[in-house]
């Protein structure tokens, strides 16, 4: 039998799409019936082809090797004397291969008819939608489709996540979560009044470090203390510093004053 190399001008080592493509080529070249493959011959020629590729330093895709091993396995089985007929139940590997080849051939044939259809229909032309002017303002419209719904959800969650990861947003969040409570501020002021009888409002806060929110809370706290008669305030002129004075009472019973309990500004 001629080697594939010698046969090179016929084969031209054309690029077979896959191992089945090559097998089909060999089956057709040898004028075999697909159901009546001479495994010995086909295996030898298939291997020759792979060797030829190797000699030419062509990369052999793993799928070619996989089919090669299947072919060799079938060949070796056929060479063995058929002593144990019991193995009948096991599927004939040749049968498996033929099944796959037949299935592949069906699709190959259909691919051929698709090609014809493609050529036949390539001369059909369509037109673009007419630009239709609607009286109502244009909205980008989407079809109601479950996949789009899911995508939108993931999209909106991702955006939400990004916002969370944005450091400036994070700061806002931290500040928001900082529980600037009226209760705490009132306690702060009373504690300061314990140490000094008079405190300027500005002393209650370090203006550089404290947020406006905290100052406002402090101001409310101060007013509450005055209302509860725990402190007095004085301010000589408008916009002057406010002076907070102790009333000598440093107790605060919030338990009875439910109003303040959870009041977070």
């Amino acid at each position: 039998m001629k080697s594939v190399l010698a046969d090179g001008c016929i084969l031209k080592l054309q690029n077979f799409e896959g191992p089945f493509d090559l097998l089909f080529y060999l089956i057709e070249k040898n004028k075999m019936e697909i159901y009546d493959i001479q495994i010995n011959e086909i295996t030898d020629q298939y291997m020759d082809y792979l060797f030829a590729m190797q000699e030419l330093d062509l990369e052999i895709a793993s799928e070619f090797l996989l089919v090669a091993s299947t072919l060799l396995h079938i060949k070796s089985r056929l060479l063995l004397p058929k002593e144990n007929e019991k193995q009948e139940e096991e599927m004939d590997p040749r049968e498996q291969l033929i099944l796959r080849l037949v299935e592949y051939r069906k699709f190959k044939e259909f691919a051929g008819s698709l090609k014809n259809r493609e050529e036949e229909w390539v001369g059909v032309f369509y037109k673009l939608p007419e630009p239709v002017q609607l009286d109502e303002p244009e909205e980008v419209l989407l079809d109601l489709c479950p996949i789009k719904l899911k995508e939108s959800y993931i999209n909106v969650l991702s955006e939400f996540k990004e916002k969370m990861n944005d450091p400036s947003q994070k700061m806002n969040k931290i500040i928001e979560h900082e529980k600037v409570s009226l209760k705490a501020k009132m306690k702060d002021i009373l504690n300061m009044l314990k140490i000094k009888a008079k405190v300027y409002f500005s002393e209650v806060f370090n203006l550089k470090a404290n947020s406006r929110l905290e100052i406002a809370t402090g101001f409310l706290g101060m007013l509450e203390l005055v209302k509860l008669k725990k402190a007095y305030i004085e301010q000589e002129n408008a916009f002057d510093e406010i002076l907070i004075k102790t009333a000598g009472d440093f107790t605060l019973e919030f338990e009875e004053q439910n109003d303040y309990k959870e009041e977070v500004v």
Partner: protein, 182 residues
């Protein structure tokens, strides 16, 4: 060439062009002299007058263009408005997605996730009967809860809420982990 075939070619070429095509070009394509071709097209125009034809040939400065007849314009806009009814804007779809997956959900939760006041969109979704009020939350202020409707299921072809496409594992890990806890 058969006169019928020439008419067919003219119609096909005008259709595929979408735009107007000059008599000159049509003459080249059909290999009919311009004068004869003009007569043929004029004759075609007359046969387009039949009620069963939705199209007409317009002559524009020595060019020809296929277009729909005026009297059928209202039906075309119906096509687009009926499409409109079935569609949702991106903000609406996003809001609907949040409601569908997190229901029952409050307005505040939606606003938190989308970062935008959702009132307008909620109203639209309520109007379209895609969402409904679904009781009230236990949190202070007892805000309204929203859920999806039967119309929602119908519109998306779901049999039940369980039919909502599942979020993939990797999507869940990267995104849902960051979901606000309510």
């Amino acid at each position: 060439m058969d006169l019928k075939v020439i008419e067919g070619i003219v119609e096909a070429v005008l259709f595929a062009s979408g735009d107007s095509v000059s008599l000159e070009k049509l003459s080249v394509v059909t290999e009919i002299d311009k004068k004869t071709l003009k007569l043929i097209i004029d004759n075609m125009s007359i046969s387009y007058n039949k009620a069963s034809r939705g199209l007409m040939i317009r002559e524009l400065d020595g060019s020809y263009q296929l277009c729909t007849k005026k009297e059928y314009g209202q039906y075309i806009s119906m096509l687009y408005t009926s499409r409109k009814k079935q569609g949702l804007s991106q903000p609406a779809l996003e809001t609907l997605a949040i409601i569908a997956y997190k229901q029952p959900v409050t307005r505040a939760e939606i606003e938190k996730i989308r970062g935008v006041n959702p009132d307008g969109v909620l109203l639209k979704l309520l109007e379209k009967n895609l969402i409904m009020e679904a009781g009230r939350s236990d949190v202070p202020g007892k805000p309204k809860l929203y859920g999806t409707t039967e119309e929602f299921l119908r519109s998306f072809g779901f049999r039940s809420i369980k039919d909502l496409p599942m979020l993939e594992m990797n999507e869940i890990e990267s995104v849902v982990a960051e979901l606000p806890v309510d």
